[in-house]
Symmetry: C2
Subunit: 127 residues, 2 copies
């Protein structure tokens, strides 16, 4: 398996094992010194153990589904459909993969809805 | 140039030509029927002409810099550092590339900062 295929496979397995709450499989995808960052809240988690705990403790009956995975060498990005109850949010996640094929860095964005600024109504349609 | 290289090249050229306000080069990267979506505001722009106008009219002295591009066949994603004056925001942009190598679909997210929820202070550091 080449680097790109390995990265693509790791990201699909990351989403799928989290959705399954298969924490053994999830943990096996992560480098020991994995770093997880959420730039919107300026939060960082260091190490597999803390990051596993963060996911295991994450509140709510959340569900994840891959909208798209793009892999390129040791980099990948995932566009994820996340649902909690009737709520829905997309996530954009950036991955770095180690030379052992393990996920070593994750940068996670959770864009929230907002009202469009005025001045571009002549160009856009709303849904 | 293979599909992945073509997609990677198109996305770099998209950011660079927008930053340069080189609208002729920017427009040459786009399919005539390009569709541009901003899911956070549920806005959609159809067609090269309207999308060019949207970019040309976009207010502020904005500047774009690629943080990362991930290309994979006819899909790509760009993680962009956007600045207006002293303000800074990251963007996550998803691309589809036509079989002619033109950008045919763009989905653009602009995640905004927010306060972290409580309950995970034992796992995270702030920056």
């Amino acid at each position: 398996m080449d680097e790109t295929s390995q990265s693509r496979h790791a990201v699909h397995a990351y989403v799928d094992s989290a959705e399954q709450r298969d924490w053994e499989r999830f943990g096996a995808l992560l480098a020991e010194d994995v770093v997880y960052e959420m730039p919107q809240t300026r939060e960082r988690i260091r190490g597999k153990s803390a990051f596993l705990q963060f996911n295991m403790e994450y509140p709510g009956d959340w569900h994840l589904r891959v909208r798209r995975v793009v892999a390129d060498g040791r980099h990948a990005a995932a566009w994820i459909d996340a649902r909690v109850g009737t709520g829905h949010q997309d996530a954009c996640v950036w991955f770095e993969i180690s030379d052992q094929g393990l996920i070593s860095r994750i940068v996670d964005y959770w864009p929230e809805p907002y009202d469009p600024p005025s001045g571009r109504e002549h160009l856009v349609e709303r849904w």
